[in-house]
Symmetry: C2
Subunit: 228 residues, 2 copies
Protein backbone atom coordinates (compact mmCIF):
# COMPACT_ATOMS: atom_id res chain seq x y z
CA UNK A 1 0.00 0.00 0.00
CA UNK A 2 1.42 3.36 -0.91
CA UNK A 3 2.49 5.62 1.84
CA UNK A 4 0.72 8.86 1.08
CA UNK A 5 -2.53 9.73 -0.57
CA UNK A 6 -4.77 9.37 2.43
CA UNK A 7 -7.45 11.16 0.44
CA UNK A 8 -8.37 10.82 -3.19
CA UNK A 9 -8.23 7.07 -3.65
CA UNK A 10 -7.51 5.93 -7.20
CA UNK A 11 -11.20 5.96 -7.93
CA UNK A 12 -12.71 9.32 -8.80
CA UNK A 13 -9.37 10.21 -10.28
CA UNK A 14 -9.12 13.78 -11.27
CA UNK A 15 -9.15 14.24 -15.04
CA UNK A 16 -5.58 14.59 -16.03
CA UNK A 17 -4.54 17.84 -17.50
CA UNK A 18 -5.68 21.06 -15.99
CA UNK A 19 -8.64 20.74 -13.66
CA UNK A 20 -11.84 22.61 -14.19
CA UNK A 21 -11.85 24.17 -10.77
CA UNK A 22 -10.80 27.56 -9.45
CA UNK A 23 -10.00 30.68 -11.31
CA UNK A 24 -7.67 29.44 -13.99
CA UNK A 25 -8.65 30.92 -17.26
CA UNK A 26 -7.35 29.35 -20.44
CA UNK A 27 -3.65 29.96 -20.06
CA UNK A 28 -3.16 30.19 -23.79
CA UNK A 29 -2.35 33.84 -23.96
CA UNK A 30 0.66 34.73 -26.05
CA UNK A 31 2.84 32.22 -27.84
CA UNK A 32 5.52 33.40 -25.43
CA UNK A 33 8.40 32.72 -27.76
CA UNK A 34 9.70 29.51 -26.37
CA UNK A 35 8.52 25.94 -26.82
CA UNK A 36 6.99 23.67 -24.26
CA UNK A 37 3.71 23.48 -22.48
CA UNK A 38 2.67 26.77 -21.00
CA UNK A 39 2.20 26.95 -17.27
CA UNK A 40 -1.30 26.78 -15.95
CA UNK A 41 -2.08 29.29 -13.28
CA UNK A 42 -0.95 26.72 -10.79
CA UNK A 43 1.27 28.98 -8.79
CA UNK A 44 -1.40 31.52 -8.08
CA UNK A 45 -3.92 28.79 -7.40
CA UNK A 46 -1.62 27.24 -4.85
CA UNK A 47 -0.96 30.54 -3.15
CA UNK A 48 -4.63 31.36 -3.00
CA UNK A 49 -5.61 27.98 -1.65
CA UNK A 50 -2.85 28.14 0.92
CA UNK A 51 -3.90 31.59 2.04
CA UNK A 52 -7.45 30.45 2.54
CA UNK A 53 -6.55 27.26 4.34
CA UNK A 54 -4.04 28.91 6.62
CA UNK A 55 -6.71 31.31 7.74
CA UNK A 56 -9.30 28.59 8.13
CA UNK A 57 -7.26 26.08 10.03
CA UNK A 58 -3.79 27.53 10.61
CA UNK A 59 -0.52 26.74 9.01
CA UNK A 60 0.32 23.75 11.15
CA UNK A 61 -2.90 21.90 10.52
CA UNK A 62 -2.82 22.46 6.78
CA UNK A 63 -1.01 19.80 4.80
CA UNK A 64 0.43 20.19 1.36
CA UNK A 65 -2.18 17.71 0.19
CA UNK A 66 -4.93 19.95 1.47
CA UNK A 67 -3.52 22.86 -0.44
CA UNK A 68 -2.97 21.08 -3.72
CA UNK A 69 -6.35 19.40 -3.56
CA UNK A 70 -8.11 22.71 -3.13
CA UNK A 71 -5.97 24.29 -5.80
CA UNK A 72 -6.85 21.45 -8.14
CA UNK A 73 -3.24 20.57 -8.70
CA UNK A 74 -1.12 17.55 -8.02
CA UNK A 75 1.07 17.34 -5.01
CA UNK A 76 4.09 17.02 -7.28
CA UNK A 77 3.22 20.34 -8.85
CA UNK A 78 3.55 22.04 -5.52
CA UNK A 79 7.22 21.28 -5.48
CA UNK A 80 7.61 22.62 -8.96
CA UNK A 81 6.78 26.02 -7.58
CA UNK A 82 7.96 25.96 -3.99
CA UNK A 83 10.88 24.30 -2.34
CA UNK A 84 9.12 23.91 0.96
CA UNK A 85 5.83 24.52 2.65
CA UNK A 86 7.33 27.38 4.60
CA UNK A 87 8.08 29.21 1.37
CA UNK A 88 4.40 30.04 1.28
CA UNK A 89 4.81 32.01 4.45
CA UNK A 90 8.22 33.48 3.99
CA UNK A 91 8.64 33.86 0.27
CA UNK A 92 7.84 37.54 0.48
CA UNK A 93 10.41 37.94 3.18
CA UNK A 94 12.96 36.32 0.95
CA UNK A 95 12.16 38.87 -1.69
CA UNK A 96 12.55 41.59 0.90
CA UNK A 97 15.98 40.32 1.81
CA UNK A 98 16.86 40.44 -1.85
CA UNK A 99 15.83 44.04 -1.93
CA UNK A 100 18.06 44.77 1.04
CA UNK A 101 20.91 43.35 -0.95
CA UNK A 102 20.16 45.75 -3.78
CA UNK A 103 19.84 48.67 -1.42
CA UNK A 104 23.17 47.83 0.14
CA UNK A 105 24.84 47.94 -3.23
CA UNK A 106 23.17 51.25 -3.93
CA UNK A 107 24.51 52.91 -0.82
CA UNK A 108 27.18 55.57 -1.29
CA UNK A 109 30.56 54.38 -0.07
CA UNK A 110 31.54 57.61 1.56
CA UNK A 111 29.17 57.40 4.48
CA UNK A 112 29.94 55.39 7.61
CA UNK A 113 29.19 51.67 7.17
CA UNK A 114 26.56 51.47 9.85
CA UNK A 115 24.72 54.41 8.35
CA UNK A 116 24.73 52.66 5.02
CA UNK A 117 23.30 49.51 6.47
CA UNK A 118 20.71 51.46 8.37
CA UNK A 119 19.70 53.27 5.23
CA UNK A 120 19.47 50.08 3.25
CA UNK A 121 17.30 48.36 5.82
CA UNK A 122 14.93 51.27 6.16
CA UNK A 123 14.68 51.75 2.41
CA UNK A 124 13.81 48.12 1.91
CA UNK A 125 11.20 48.35 4.65
CA UNK A 126 9.58 51.30 2.96
CA UNK A 127 8.61 49.11 0.06
CA UNK A 128 6.52 46.90 2.28
CA UNK A 129 3.13 48.29 1.56
CA UNK A 130 0.12 47.26 3.51
CA UNK A 131 -1.15 45.75 0.27
CA UNK A 132 1.20 42.84 0.04
CA UNK A 133 1.92 41.51 3.48
CA UNK A 134 3.82 38.31 4.01
CA UNK A 135 1.51 35.49 4.90
CA UNK A 136 3.63 34.84 7.92
CA UNK A 137 2.45 38.11 9.42
CA UNK A 138 -1.19 37.27 9.05
CA UNK A 139 -0.50 33.94 10.66
CA UNK A 140 1.29 35.54 13.53
CA UNK A 141 -1.91 36.58 15.24
CA UNK A 142 -3.64 33.34 14.49
CA UNK A 143 -1.21 30.77 15.68
CA UNK A 144 -1.32 29.46 19.16
CA UNK A 145 2.01 27.81 18.84
CA UNK A 146 4.29 30.33 17.26
CA UNK A 147 7.32 28.16 17.56
CA UNK A 148 6.87 26.47 14.24
CA UNK A 149 6.41 29.78 12.53
CA UNK A 150 9.35 31.26 14.30
CA UNK A 151 11.63 28.40 13.49
CA UNK A 152 10.68 28.34 9.85
CA UNK A 153 11.27 32.05 9.60
CA UNK A 154 14.50 32.45 11.45
CA UNK A 155 16.57 30.89 8.74
CA UNK A 156 15.36 33.55 6.35
CA UNK A 157 16.51 36.23 8.71
CA UNK A 158 19.84 34.54 9.08
CA UNK A 159 20.37 35.05 5.38
CA UNK A 160 19.87 38.74 6.02
CA UNK A 161 22.55 38.52 8.67
CA UNK A 162 25.03 36.96 6.29
CA UNK A 163 24.27 39.65 3.77
CA UNK A 164 24.93 42.46 6.18
CA UNK A 165 28.04 40.74 7.46
CA UNK A 166 29.53 40.50 4.01
CA UNK A 167 28.85 44.15 3.45
CA UNK A 168 30.31 45.29 6.74
CA UNK A 169 33.26 43.00 6.26
CA UNK A 170 34.04 44.64 2.97
CA UNK A 171 34.16 48.00 4.66
CA UNK A 172 35.93 47.19 7.89
CA UNK A 173 39.57 46.81 8.57
CA UNK A 174 40.61 43.23 9.10
CA UNK A 175 40.81 41.92 12.63
CA UNK A 176 37.33 43.17 13.33
CA UNK A 177 35.65 39.88 12.58
CA UNK A 178 33.88 39.65 15.90
CA UNK A 179 32.60 43.19 15.77
CA UNK A 180 31.43 42.76 12.21
CA UNK A 181 29.59 39.55 12.93
CA UNK A 182 28.13 40.81 16.17
CA UNK A 183 26.91 44.00 14.56
CA UNK A 184 25.32 42.10 11.69
CA UNK A 185 23.37 39.71 13.78
CA UNK A 186 22.46 42.26 16.37
CA UNK A 187 20.95 44.29 13.56
CA UNK A 188 19.05 41.31 12.33
CA UNK A 189 17.75 40.71 15.81
CA UNK A 190 16.52 44.25 16.02
CA UNK A 191 14.90 44.01 12.61
CA UNK A 192 13.18 40.80 13.54
CA UNK A 193 11.97 42.37 16.75
CA UNK A 194 10.51 45.30 14.89
CA UNK A 195 8.86 42.99 12.41
CA UNK A 196 7.39 40.99 15.25
CA UNK A 197 5.98 44.05 16.95
CA UNK A 198 4.63 45.22 13.63
CA UNK A 199 2.99 41.89 12.96
CA UNK A 200 1.48 41.83 16.40
CA UNK A 201 -0.27 45.13 15.77
CA UNK A 202 -2.94 43.33 13.78
CA UNK A 203 -4.73 44.88 10.90
CA UNK A 204 -4.31 48.60 10.38
CA UNK A 205 -0.74 48.64 11.46
CA UNK A 206 1.64 51.52 11.39
CA UNK A 207 4.10 51.78 8.53
CA UNK A 208 6.99 49.41 9.00
CA UNK A 209 9.96 51.55 8.11
CA UNK A 210 9.92 53.94 11.07
CA UNK A 211 9.56 51.00 13.39
CA UNK A 212 12.59 49.38 11.88
CA UNK A 213 14.50 52.58 12.16
CA UNK A 214 13.70 53.05 15.80
CA UNK A 215 14.62 49.46 16.55
CA UNK A 216 17.99 49.46 14.85
CA UNK A 217 19.09 52.97 15.75
CA UNK A 218 20.53 52.01 19.13
CA UNK A 219 22.41 49.13 17.58
CA UNK A 220 23.88 51.42 14.98
CA UNK A 221 24.84 53.92 17.64
CA UNK A 222 26.47 51.24 19.70
CA UNK A 223 28.57 49.79 16.93
CA UNK A 224 29.36 52.93 14.97
CA UNK A 225 32.46 53.77 17.00
CA UNK A 226 33.86 50.36 16.13
CA UNK A 227 34.00 51.16 12.46
CA UNK A 228 36.05 53.76 10.64
Amino acid sequence: MPTNEPLTPPSSGRPSGRPSGQSSGQPSGRPSGRPGRRPASSRAAIEDAAGELFLEQSYARTTIEHITTRAGVSRASFFNYFDAKSDLLWGDVDALVDSVEQQLRAQPSNIPPMDAVRGALVSAAEHVGSDRIPLAVTQWELMGARDELLTSGLSRFSRLGSLVRVYLDSRAKSGEQLAVTAASFALVGAVAAAAGVWAAQGTARDPLAPLIDRAIAPVCDGFAPRFS
Copy 2:
Protein backbone atom coordinates in the same frame (compact mmCIF):
# COMPACT_ATOMS: atom_id res chain seq x y z
CA MET B 1 4.37 -2.99 2.90
CA PRO B 2 5.40 -0.98 5.92
CA THR B 3 6.61 2.50 5.34
CA ASN B 4 9.81 2.64 7.29
CA GLU B 5 12.44 0.15 8.27
CA PRO B 6 14.50 0.28 5.15
CA LEU B 7 17.21 -1.58 6.98
CA THR B 8 17.02 -4.37 9.49
CA PRO B 9 14.37 -6.61 7.97
CA PRO B 10 12.66 -8.86 10.50
CA SER B 11 15.42 -11.38 10.14
CA SER B 12 18.57 -10.74 12.12
CA GLY B 13 16.49 -8.91 14.66
CA ARG B 14 18.45 -7.48 17.49
CA PRO B 15 18.02 -9.44 20.70
CA SER B 16 15.41 -7.65 22.70
CA GLY B 17 16.36 -6.34 26.06
CA ARG B 18 19.58 -4.55 26.62
CA PRO B 19 22.23 -5.52 24.10
CA SER B 20 25.64 -6.75 25.02
CA GLY B 21 27.39 -4.03 23.10
CA GLN B 22 28.97 -0.77 24.10
CA SER B 23 29.81 0.44 27.50
CA SER B 24 26.68 -0.29 29.42
CA GLY B 25 27.58 -1.91 32.67
CA GLN B 26 24.90 -3.51 34.75
CA PRO B 27 22.83 -0.48 35.69
CA SER B 28 21.81 -1.98 39.02
CA GLY B 29 23.48 0.53 41.28
CA ARG B 30 21.40 1.75 44.17
CA PRO B 31 17.74 0.90 44.67
CA SER B 32 17.09 4.56 43.88
CA GLY B 33 14.05 4.86 46.10
CA ARG B 34 11.27 4.67 43.62
CA PRO B 35 9.71 1.72 41.81
CA GLY B 36 9.98 0.88 38.20
CA ARG B 37 12.66 -0.50 36.00
CA ARG B 38 15.90 1.36 36.31
CA PRO B 39 17.19 3.09 33.23
CA ALA B 40 19.86 1.31 31.31
CA SER B 41 22.69 3.51 30.20
CA SER B 42 20.67 4.20 27.10
CA ARG B 43 20.98 7.90 27.22
CA ALA B 44 24.71 7.92 27.37
CA ALA B 45 24.88 5.20 24.76
CA ILE B 46 22.78 7.26 22.40
CA GLU B 47 24.83 10.37 22.96
CA ASP B 48 28.06 8.51 22.42
CA ALA B 49 26.86 6.81 19.29
CA ALA B 50 25.54 10.08 17.94
CA GLY B 51 28.81 11.85 18.66
CA GLU B 52 30.72 9.20 16.80
CA LEU B 53 28.41 9.08 13.84
CA PHE B 54 28.19 12.83 13.48
CA LEU B 55 31.95 12.98 13.25
CA GLU B 56 32.13 10.07 10.87
CA GLN B 57 29.45 11.10 8.44
CA SER B 58 28.03 14.43 9.59
CA TYR B 59 24.77 15.27 11.23
CA ALA B 60 22.70 15.39 8.09
CA ARG B 61 23.68 11.97 6.83
CA THR B 62 23.13 10.29 10.17
CA THR B 63 19.65 8.96 10.74
CA ILE B 64 18.08 8.22 14.07
CA GLU B 65 18.08 4.58 13.06
CA HIS B 66 21.82 4.67 12.62
CA ILE B 67 22.26 6.10 16.05
CA THR B 68 19.95 3.74 17.86
CA THR B 69 21.32 0.74 16.03
CA ARG B 70 24.84 1.56 17.04
CA ALA B 71 23.73 2.34 20.56
CA GLY B 72 21.96 -0.99 20.73
CA VAL B 73 18.67 0.62 21.58
CA SER B 74 15.30 0.72 19.91
CA ARG B 75 14.26 3.69 17.87
CA ALA B 76 11.40 4.26 20.26
CA SER B 77 13.84 4.61 23.09
CA PHE B 78 15.47 7.51 21.37
CA PHE B 79 12.32 9.50 21.81
CA ASN B 80 12.14 8.58 25.44
CA TYR B 81 15.27 10.61 25.96
CA PHE B 82 15.18 13.27 23.29
CA ASP B 83 12.36 15.21 21.74
CA ALA B 84 14.12 15.62 18.45
CA LYS B 85 17.28 14.73 16.64
CA SER B 86 18.49 18.28 16.97
CA ASP B 87 18.41 17.97 20.74
CA LEU B 88 21.59 15.98 20.42
CA LEU B 89 23.29 19.03 19.04
CA TRP B 90 21.64 21.75 21.02
CA GLY B 91 20.72 20.18 24.30
CA ASP B 92 23.72 21.72 25.97
CA VAL B 93 22.74 25.08 24.63
CA ASP B 94 19.32 24.65 26.13
CA ALA B 95 20.94 24.01 29.47
CA LEU B 96 22.99 27.14 28.99
CA VAL B 97 19.89 29.17 28.36
CA ASP B 98 18.48 27.78 31.57
CA SER B 99 21.53 29.00 33.37
CA VAL B 100 21.06 32.45 31.91
CA GLU B 101 17.61 32.42 33.40
CA GLN B 102 19.05 31.67 36.80
CA GLN B 103 21.71 34.31 36.44
CA LEU B 104 19.11 36.87 35.50
CA ARG B 105 17.18 36.16 38.66
CA ALA B 106 20.38 36.45 40.66
CA GLN B 107 21.19 39.92 39.39
CA PRO B 108 20.84 42.79 41.82
CA SER B 109 17.90 44.99 40.98
CA ASN B 110 19.65 48.25 41.69
CA ILE B 111 21.91 48.21 38.67
CA PRO B 112 20.80 49.34 35.23
CA PRO B 113 18.84 46.67 33.37
CA MET B 114 21.24 46.34 30.49
CA ASP B 115 24.13 45.88 32.88
CA ALA B 116 22.22 43.13 34.61
CA VAL B 117 21.56 41.32 31.36
CA ARG B 118 25.15 41.72 30.31
CA GLY B 119 26.33 40.32 33.60
CA ALA B 120 23.99 37.39 33.38
CA LEU B 121 25.04 36.48 29.88
CA VAL B 122 28.73 36.68 30.64
CA SER B 123 28.34 34.73 33.86
CA ALA B 124 26.53 31.97 32.06
CA ALA B 125 29.19 31.89 29.37
CA GLU B 126 31.89 31.49 31.99
CA HIS B 127 30.51 28.12 32.88
CA VAL B 128 31.11 26.81 29.40
CA GLY B 129 34.33 24.96 29.96
CA SER B 130 36.31 23.53 27.13
CA ASP B 131 35.48 20.16 28.61
CA ARG B 132 31.85 19.99 27.69
CA ILE B 133 31.27 21.64 24.38
CA PRO B 134 27.93 21.46 22.64
CA LEU B 135 28.01 18.97 19.82
CA ALA B 136 26.75 21.66 17.54
CA VAL B 137 30.05 23.45 17.87
CA THR B 138 32.10 20.46 16.86
CA GLN B 139 29.82 20.02 13.90
CA TRP B 140 30.18 23.61 12.90
CA GLU B 141 33.56 23.05 11.36
CA LEU B 142 32.59 19.79 9.77
CA MET B 143 29.42 20.64 7.98
CA GLY B 144 29.51 21.74 4.43
CA ALA B 145 25.95 22.95 4.54
CA ARG B 146 25.56 24.87 7.73
CA ASP B 147 22.03 25.84 7.01
CA GLU B 148 20.49 22.82 8.60
CA LEU B 149 22.56 23.31 11.70
CA LEU B 150 21.77 26.96 11.80
CA THR B 151 18.09 26.44 11.40
CA SER B 152 17.90 23.79 14.04
CA GLY B 153 19.77 26.00 16.45
CA LEU B 154 18.12 29.32 15.95
CA SER B 155 14.96 28.36 17.75
CA ARG B 156 17.01 27.68 20.86
CA PHE B 157 18.45 31.15 20.71
CA SER B 158 15.02 32.59 20.24
CA ARG B 159 14.12 31.19 23.64
CA LEU B 160 17.01 33.15 25.02
CA GLY B 161 15.53 36.21 23.40
CA SER B 162 12.19 35.70 25.01
CA LEU B 163 13.86 35.25 28.35
CA VAL B 164 15.75 38.49 28.11
CA ARG B 165 12.70 40.28 26.86
CA VAL B 166 10.66 39.22 29.84
CA TYR B 167 13.37 40.41 32.14
CA LEU B 168 13.80 43.75 30.46
CA ASP B 169 10.08 44.18 30.28
CA SER B 170 9.79 43.76 34.01
CA ARG B 171 12.27 46.54 34.51
CA ALA B 172 11.19 49.02 31.87
CA LYS B 173 8.45 51.55 31.97
CA SER B 174 5.53 50.63 29.80
CA GLY B 175 5.36 51.99 26.30
CA GLU B 176 8.85 50.79 25.64
CA GLN B 177 7.77 47.57 24.04
CA LEU B 178 9.68 48.11 20.84
CA ALA B 179 12.88 49.08 22.58
CA VAL B 180 12.63 46.14 24.94
CA THR B 181 12.06 43.65 22.17
CA ALA B 182 14.69 45.15 19.92
CA ALA B 183 17.27 45.18 22.68
CA SER B 184 16.53 41.58 23.58
CA PHE B 185 16.87 40.17 20.13
CA ALA B 186 19.81 42.36 19.24
CA LEU B 187 21.55 40.93 22.26
CA VAL B 188 20.72 37.45 21.17
CA GLY B 189 22.09 38.17 17.74
CA ALA B 190 25.33 39.39 19.22
CA VAL B 191 25.54 36.35 21.47
CA ALA B 192 24.94 34.04 18.56
CA ALA B 193 27.57 35.85 16.56
CA ALA B 194 30.10 35.45 19.32
CA ALA B 195 29.23 31.79 19.66
CA GLY B 196 29.66 31.33 15.94
CA VAL B 197 33.05 32.98 15.93
CA TRP B 198 34.02 30.91 18.92
CA ALA B 199 32.90 27.72 17.26
CA ALA B 200 34.78 28.58 14.10
CA GLN B 201 38.03 28.87 16.03
CA GLY B 202 38.35 25.11 16.01
CA THR B 203 39.99 23.18 18.77
CA ALA B 204 41.97 25.12 21.32
CA ARG B 205 39.63 28.05 21.27
CA ASP B 206 39.75 31.09 23.47
CA PRO B 207 37.46 31.26 26.49
CA LEU B 208 33.96 32.13 25.48
CA ALA B 209 32.98 34.69 28.09
CA PRO B 210 35.24 37.56 26.99
CA LEU B 211 34.14 37.03 23.43
CA ILE B 212 30.53 37.31 24.46
CA ASP B 213 31.28 40.40 26.45
CA ARG B 214 32.99 42.14 23.59
CA ALA B 215 30.18 41.21 21.24
CA ILE B 216 27.34 42.47 23.38
CA ALA B 217 29.03 45.53 24.83
CA PRO B 218 28.13 47.81 21.92
CA VAL B 219 24.54 46.62 22.02
CA CYS B 220 24.33 47.37 25.72
CA ASP B 221 25.89 50.76 25.18
CA GLY B 222 23.44 51.54 22.44
CA PHE B 223 20.34 50.60 24.34
CA ALA B 224 21.34 51.70 27.82
CA PRO B 225 20.08 55.28 27.36
CA ARG B 226 16.67 53.90 26.53
CA PHE B 227 16.21 52.40 29.97
CA SER B 228 15.99 54.08 33.31
